[in-house]
């Protein structure tokens, strides 16, 4: 029994991992794009701030439902494709938008926390804006944002479980299914171990990164 449950949960966890990895892959660059839009393009800054307000001001669960059912209701057709894959893509879209907005705020805060004196020192040394960003600002920003980014990433591990509201078969779903089929609840509790192991691994990774940048302040 234990083996069957473990295998089943592992399959669910693969889906969790897939959602997690793809969300990060797309939301980090998108977040950087949004942040630079907010910082540098005045015309873009207002609509982007509006978007960030909407996304951060509503539950992710609601966003999942709106992203999945919205097109069907408002456009009259399901743009996400059929079956499991369609639901997965819809949930990925919702997660990417949501996390990009949170990351954007972290990037913006990080970039704006760099004292203007750093830019000016670069300028009087004859560096171009690009050189200043790459060689002076970037590493300082990365150091500043690692802690809040690691928070978000670890939250994302657990947030993936929300995808089951649109029937994405992630690990909680797998665990729950044993209640219905076998009348046992421990598989659901057992899922916690998977989360703990994975978030533990991520914590070690982020601690290492922090450690590597601890040589300056």
């Amino acid at each position: 029994m234990f083996e069957t449950v473990t295998l089943s949960l592992a399959r669910g966890f693969m889906m969790t991992l897939r959602l997690f990895t793809l969300t990060l892959l797309f939301s980090l660059p998108l977040g950087l794009l949004i942040a630079s839009g907010v910082i540098t393009k005045k015309a873009l800054s207002y609509p982007l701030r509006f978007l960030i307000w909407i996304i951060r001001g509503t539950p992710l669960m609601l966003q999942l439902l709106v992203v999945y059912y919205g097109p069907g209701i408002f456009l009259g057709r399901n743009i996400w494709g059929m079956g499991d894959e369609g639901r997965f893509i819809a949930s990925l879209a919702a997660f990417v938008i949501n996390y990009a907005c949170y990351f954007a705020e972290i990037f913006r805060g990080g970039i704006q926390s760099i004292p203007v004196g750093q830019y000016e020192a670069g300028r009087v040394l004859g560096l171009s804006d690009k050189q200043i960003f790459r060689n002076i600002v970037l590493l300082q920003v990365i150091k500043k944002i690692i802690p809040p980014i690691s928070n978000e990433v670890i939250t994302l591990v657990k947030d993936t479980s929300l995808a089951r509201v649109i029937a994405v078969y992630e690990i909680i779903w797998s665990g729950q299914s044993f209640i219905k089929s076998q009348g046992i609840i421990w598989p659901l509790f057992y899922t916690g171990i998977f989360y703990l192991l994975f978030s533990g691994l991520l914590t070690i990774l982020f601690d290492r990164m922090e450690e590597r940048l601890s040589y300056f302040v």
């Binding site: 750093q118 000016e120 020192a121 300028r123 009087v124 040394l125 004859g126 171009s128 300082q140 302040v217």
Partner: protein
């Protein structure tokens, strides 16, 4: 011919006029001190000279050649500003060292990005600043006085024609102040052309070939170092005596 000639420089922020009719000359090898109360526009003047701000009136000439004319050059882009900035160096009140680089890397960074290896020269400069044993330290491992000396070496590494200092010791306690002033004095002895904004009157008297007193965005008096002991303008006298009281 003067190395630097500033004529009728003016600068406003919004409708507030911060610099008015600033004119002076500086010969090669001379040290000019700019003295004046807080808010009189000294920093703004240095920032205009280093093109961190663009003056909106007047001209700047180097060796008789106009490098900036506010009447037509205000639309200069970063690229052009970068080119004329090469003539100047600026040492900031707050040092502004790059925290992720060692002292030596701070000095070599700009040249390295231009594809030049100046390690030997940078080491020489840091030695000259009395930092031979601190080259591989990161800024946060250095005292304020040491950080400022690294900043001076960093500016010197690019061989500016004119090196500017904006209250280089204002963020330092007296002991650290004296070690920074000592290296600036060495530069003066070596005939580095310098513009120094400072409240250190005794130091200004010692190193300056020229002195300018500023008040409310204007030059109210200029002359040689003896002016410090015999100011003519009432405002200068008042300002100097307020410094004595400290």
């Amino acid at each position: 011919m003067a190395l630097l000639e500033i004529r009728k420089l003016g600068k406003s922020f919004g409708d507030k006029k911060i610099l008015k009719d600033i004119s002076f000359e500086l010969e090669k090898g001379q040290t000019l001190s700019i003295i004046g109360s807080s808010g009189s526009g000294k920093t703004t003047l240095l920032r205009c000279i280093n093109f961190l701000e663009k003056a909106d009136e007047g001209t700047m000439s180097l060796n008789g050649e106009i490098i900036y004319d506010a009447a037509k050059d205000q639309d200069f882009k970063e690229k052009q500003l970068g080119l004329i900035r090469k003539h100047f160096g600026l040492v900031f009140q707050q040092f502004n060292l790059f925290p992720q680089y060692t002292a030596l890397e701070n000095v070599t960074l700009a040249s390295r990005l231009q594809g030049k290896d100046i390690k030997e020269k940078a080491i020489g400069l840091l030695e000259q600043m009395g930092l031979a044993d601190r080259m591989d330290y990161y800024p946060h491992q250095l005292s304020g006085g040491q950080q400022q000396r690294v900043a001076i070496a960093r500016a010197m590494a690019l061989d500016p024609d004119i090196l500017c200092f904006d209250e280089p010791t204002s963020a330092l306690d007296p002991l650290l102040t004296s070690e920074v002033l000592r290296v600036i004095r060495q530069l003066a002895d070596k005939k580095m052309t310098m513009i120094i904004v400072t409240h250190e009157i005794a130091f200004a008297r010692l190193v300056s070939d020229k002195v300018i007193f500023m008040d409310d965005g204007q030059i109210i008096e200029k002359g040689d170092a003896s002016l410090i002991d015999n100011p003519k303008d009432e405002r200068t006298r008042h300002f100097l005596s307020s410094l004595d009281e400290r």
